[in-house]
Amino acid sequence: MSRPGDRVSLVGGIAFLLLGAILCLDQLEVFSLTAGLAAAAICAAAGSALVASGLEPDRPERADE
């Protein structure tokens, strides 16, 4: 039986994919991140995963519960 999709992983994955791309561009000197921008980007990535989990409907009970 296929397992249900996980929205938190999906949103977190997209967020960290984008964050990794931004950091990669910074390291390749395409642009330069300031401390404020870096902090905002990291908080946004972590925050998006938190928001996704907060908006998630109740998960079905585990089989062992």
Binding site: S9, A15, F16, G20, L23, L33
Partner: protein, 335 residues
Amino acid sequence: MTDQDDTQDASAAPTTEDREPAAGPKRLLRSQNDRVIGGVSGGLGRYFDVDPVIFRIAFPVSILAGGLGFFAYLAAWLFVPADDGTGAPMPAQRGAGFIRAVGVIALVLAGLLGFGALVTGAAFVTGIGYGYIVAGAIVLIGVALIATSFRGGARWLIVPALALSIGVGVAAAADLDLEGGVGNREYRPAAASAIPADGYELGVGRLAIDLRDIDWSPERVVDLDARLGVGELAIAVPSDVCVVAEATAGAGELRIAGQRADGLDVELSTATGSPATPQLRLDADVDIGQIRVLNDDAVDINVGHGSFDEHDGPFDEFAAAAQAARDANEAACSR
């Protein structure tokens, strides 16, 4: 009492399967079924009727913001009873508290060390010029999260992704450069010609440059570049030398001839454009740490914080020393 009565009593005793939660107010319990470490987040999620992952992310994040989350989690693990699977608290067992405390401390310390090691490692790799590899790893983790999201997800990957991001982000924001080596370096050039044309550089550690042995003749102008990745950069000049400085810090503190600035992406300039001689034209940069320029004839560059902040006395004394350093530089630059 007959055998029949005993049978009836035994059958009337509640079992784990048919026990009902005690009636009364809702009680916070550590979850036995939804746990990663101690079941605290699972219990909190059930108590507040929200997803436990919120607490699983919030606890580590709060540890970074002063460490309150660490003690809160520890206290909850120690003092909040576990549920027995039915919503009722599990009966206490002798010695279980001590064993649990040791286990909690060991696990939390291991988690903190692991998270800190990832952050530090990512920052170090970025500092030596391979940050794009770590950034690429974060992209791959993102791809893995997306790929697994259609098959149940792998939320735990968010934690290492966050740790790596913090490490690269801090190093990138501070332009961390650790390629100059590690250690304590002290330079005391006897003549201006002994100063390297490309200046002095150090990756991590303490870089001390004492310029007081140079012949500071009245017309002398000395150019000095100094770069430090992480640590302390201390430069000493005689009090009658005009310090014309352009100093920057990605994160840290600048103390130059009695002037002070601190914070993130901080810059400090002194006596810009002054034609006074003798003069030190300084271009200094630290990624994370402190730059101190001591315009003092007697202070030991290696003792304490030197110059105007070496005093342990009251604030007035500290302020007076800083003012004296500012006055000395102002006098030297207005000749």
